[in-house]
Homo-oligomer: 363 residues x 2
Amino acid sequence: MSRLHVTYSISAAAADVARRAEALAVEQSIEMPLDAVGERRIRDEIVGRVESIEPDGENRFRVVLGLATETTGGEVAQLISMIFGNCSLQDDVRLEDVAFPPELIAEFGGPRGGIAGLRALLGVVDRPLTSTALKPQGSSVETLATLCRTFALAEIDVIKDDHGIADQVAAPFAERAAACRRAVREAAEITGREVLYAPSLVGPPRALHERARIACGLGIKIVLVAPMVLGAATFHELVDSYPDLLFLAHPAFGGATRISPVWLFGRFFRLLGADAVIYPNYGGRFTYSPQVCRDIADAARGSWDALRPAFPVPAGGMTVDRVAEMTEFYGREVMLLIGGGLLSAGNALLERSREFVAKVAQR
Amino acid sequence: MSRLHVTYSISAAAADVARRAEALAVEQSIEMPLDAVGERRIRDEIVGRVESIEPDGENRFRVVLGLATETTGGEVAQLISMIFGNCSLQDDVRLEDVAFPPELIAEFGGPRGGIAGLRALLGVVDRPLTSTALKPQGSSVETLATLCRTFALAEIDVIKDDHGIADQVAAPFAERAAACRRAVREAAEITGREVLYAPSLVGPPRALHERARIACGLGIKIVLVAPMVLGAATFHELVDSYPDLLFLAHPAFGGATRISPVWLFGRFFRLLGADAVIYPNYGGRFTYSPQVCRDIADAARGSWDALRPAFPVPAGGMTVDRVAEMTEFYGREVMLLIGGGLLSAGNALLERSREFVAKVAQR
């Protein structure tokens, strides 16, 4: 019988942890007193099972539960409910990792393009990718498109909307996407090389589908989405629905979850189909350690069954000065994202963007 | 110019808090260096503003930011990104409360039926409501329908699927919803009073819409949803799309958010249209204090602009023995949810369910 193996970190006294783990196994499966379960099949096959308990520091344990794959119904939303629905409400539990059975890995499918797909689209084989963001929100379509053109002239590989840009009055989605797409094409006539513009998709499901269709109609090849803002199941439905799009995942609303960021951003976003995964880099405005950042990167791009690797995209307060350090740290399979660190150049934006591209090209 | 006033709790030294608050205001709006913003309108109208900073314990402050309503684009997903997208990734920040401008309150709209709507459907005016759950997942359609019939014979007001029940092989949605709806009708022929069956809606957006249409076609009047599992914007789209359905909101995946549960379950779920809001009661398997539970209840049902009040639904390890205590504590405008505490009666299920109903009727 197929089970997911879910690893939790539990804070408990040694004398209590076995009972706590059993209670968690019930909470995350049938959620009712075991002795009130009449059917043998349910006790044997549906009730969560404690697979192992290992000490992990003082009054802390790594507990692996076996949760029946059947309980997920093969759906992302229900999967979330089963692995961390109710116990998100219990402060002593943290989700660390999930080992998925092959049928769920095949069902969710991972990136359609991933690192190879993005490299193929861009024609870049032997260096890290570069990326930047169109900001600030509140700018007009014309301003954003002009900015996009400048970045495209500098040949930054992926130019994304800031995740704060949605469908506001200042720059409505359809108009903005068309103008920025045009800007990238016009720049390509000058440089001879077409880079990618990634509009930000955010909204309720129907609007997301409408905007994704608009993007496809414009020949756009990649979009920015924040899976935790949209709901992971909504994100996965988009991946499933638009085979011509690649997906750049943003970590917004994904920080305060008591879920390991290595698992959430590196593994789960990849499993659901993210081709590239943005996360807060060490040494910027966020607090992840270098080790956590390396682990996220390796989870996103490392070997995992038949799933394609996804690009790690460290970001958040990055500057051109740190390019050498970043490529040294992450190696070649990385997309470096510098947003504000380019924009602060003011009138020298094109030059600083070119400097960014040149520094990455040297690696 | 319209702004949301968002209250955060920030952990910082007194000497640093002003700078920290300014950085947060930038993070949650334009997310780029202020001095690189050329347009005056953006500096004046789009950049977040620190409205106040008040001490709140040692090295802790309540900071109110004014965030431009324009930046939300009037959409739920983007609203989430603006109030807690990036700063969810910064450990020193907790979201406490949001004061919405009238246009967003009108746009999101709150419960369509709420307390009055549910009471009208049930024909119950002068007592708390009763509720229970069909469990365990893994049971067949027949087993769940039989259970549903028993609860309906006891005249429990709202009989919901366990939130662990989705569209799994053991009891697929369409078949289960039809059978449980039938069970409720058959019981009504005996008791003379029809109660409500609330199937669990969980899945990707297209499946949710398909299942909501099936529910409407069966004459079902209320559904169970977990807004944080589905994504709040997906939840709100459902509310918007099905005027004939009421919505019972489940807190799954909503615990580990560094968002005040009073705001999230009591206010935000209500704002988005929940007619009744389930939350972990004190003294059960979860750790909220009586004060937090009372505050959630009062946020859900208290006065708030023109929004209809929603039923608070305390749950989680409740028993029939606690009915008097609960109605004493919460008063009349409450729905009491007992799941496992009924099911543990085994063969005496009908009797214990009747006891539950009788105890509530006495209040």
